[in-house]
Symmetry: C2
Subunit: 336 residues, 2 copies
């Protein structure tokens, strides 16, 4: 079965599980609940499938359970958990970054104010973790506790990554070492948890869990490095929308940090100050000449191969394995 | 043994457990960690025992474990958990309220900015919940999962209470029904969890746990109603510092809501608009004439008696029972 076929069956089940997870009887009568359902893309202006996000993390959990030979429905609470943790972090990120829109809609803080958005994020966090207790219906107590522990460690990494992201944003320069620690926390940790939890729910042993975890982690890192490439050389940037180039915002992405480490034309120019729109094309060329584009693509491919090797090592069930390979590859052919 | 004697043994053990809980190897090298230790009163300007807070919640957990006939050291991770959850909520509350000081020191958001404070609160939340996994060393898996579940429900109540507090603050009037729901979440839920977890760690059955939970809940409600009384008739307000009267800030406390429900002189005046300093004394008298002070004191005593009855019903171990009675009473003789 292809990724599309499997998704057709799995995604609606994930959406149901998410809805069940948020509809806590203590809160459904209050507009606090509306903040959560609005953020998830289910209610309010502009609600609909086009704004719910791709649900990549819960899909990874479910497919990992299948690939590890487990019954996928057992993993639904774990899948809901990782998606809610992701969304709690988005609600708080939007406040931290002052982002006014997400999927083209007002962010929670812009609609209800920062104080309510902080609180709504805290509630989403709690309800996300609470999902794992529902694993009890089909898994042993030991698996439930392992799942809680994996998620708690992940959230420590997430907040550490978020902290470093805020620190690096204000720093003049940054090292690749900082970069890896930052994206391992901010992007890698939750993808790693998604795939590890999938294996855990299938009853996999520690070794297999770690291999699935490595698959998710490398996938997350590759995803981020590719995202960094897109931010400078992607279609959206190249086809006239170069105002959205990461070079203008001054973001410390992989190509920028690599470029700085080369101390070539790019580094000399970058250190002189902000880059205006009219200079973007020239700076891109400097980055290419200094080998940064090639290094970025090479690194993304390397990480993606590592992800696929881990997957190959651990998968026991063919259709889910193929779907995960397809999902992994699709993340590297996306142009946005 | 008196409360003082027991506290002398227990409080340092709690403080050690809290320090252990926050010193996660992933974060100790970063200033993110300093935000947590600063907030706890251990590091930074003005650090010291006078600013750490009274640690009432973890003390309740430990004494409840003893009172339920358990070995108190087993409950230390649960005690650390409730204190860290309390402190995570304080870090976020301070942002939400725009409070600039706590225990006379700059709040985390004022020192590091709102974005970092949101993130530090999220981390404290995670590390608080993670404590419960350490219960595994001495308790069954089932107890660990029950503890996680109690805490998650508590955090749903906490965020609901916080939501209602923000909504009521802006509302013109409010009902006692709203008031009870609000303080049950904001103050009651975590005290209820503190005492219930104590009983759980002692291996108590569901019935005994519920009685301990009721003790904590009623204690929390009584504490809040008494706090409301202090905010109008307390020494700090009476002895010249009446600028701090809750009547000036317009807070919807128990006496105010009760007074409004009487539709007497107080309600008529309150509905005309904000109360300036020079009117405070007169409005206090209106409240007394309308029966609001008596109703407040009666309610606080009633709740406190209910708390003590629950305690009396469930305690099996004398010195801890006496210490809890002492602690309960001391909360109602405090003048600030």
């Amino acid at each position: 079965m292809s990724l599309v076929d499997l998704s057709r069956e799995i995604l609606p089940a994930i959406e149901d599980e998410l809805k069940k997870s948020l509809a806590h009887p203590l809160i459904t009568d209050y507009s606090l609940y509306d903040m959560l359902t609005y953020h998830m893309g289910w209610t309010g202006e502009g609600a609909g499938a086009q704004v719910t996000g791709k649900r990549i993390r819960p899909l990874l959990t479910i497919l990992s359970t299948m690939a590890a030979g487990g019954e996928w429905k057992i993993a639904l609470p774990a899948a809901a958990c990782v998606e809610l943790i992701h969304n709690f972090s988005l609600i708080h990120d939007d406040i931290q970054d002052g982002s006014q829109t997400r999927h083209g809609r007002k962010t929670v803080w812009l609609k209800w104010g920062e104080a309510h958005a902080i609180n709504a994020g805290d509630l989403m966090f709690t309800l996300g973790l609470a999902c794992l207790n529902r694993l009890k219906d089909a898994c042993s107590d030991d698996i439930v506790i392992q799942a809680q522990s994996i998620l708690q460690e992940t959230c420590v990494s997430l907040t550490k990554g978020q902290y470093l992201d805020m620190v690096l944003e204000r720093a003049k320069e940054s090292t690749l070492e900082d970069y890896w620690v930052m994206i391992s926390g901010k992007t890698g940790a939750l993808l790693a948890a998604s795939t590890q939890l999938g294996a855990l729910c299938a009853g996999s042993d520690q070794n297999t869990q770690i291999i699935f975890k490595n698959y998710g982690l490398n996938l997350g890192l590759a995803f981020q490095v590719w995202d960094d490439w897109l931010g400078i050389w992607g279609d959206a940037v190249k086809t006239g929308k170069s105002t959205s180039s990461d070079l203008i915002s001054g973001k410390k992405t992989y190509p920028v940090i690599y470029g700085l480490s080369q101390n070539g034309k790019f580094a000399t120019r970058w250190r002189k100050g902000p880059i205006p729109l009219e200079e973007v094309e020239q700076i891109e060329k400097y980055l290419q000449e200094d080998g940064a584009e090639e290094a970025t693509l090479t690194k993304a491919k390397e990480l993606s191969s590592e992800a696929l090797s881990a997957l190959n090592l651990a998968s026991s069930e063919l259709p889910a394995y193929q779907a995960l390979v397809e999902l992994t590859n699709s993340l590297f052919h996306r142009q946005r």
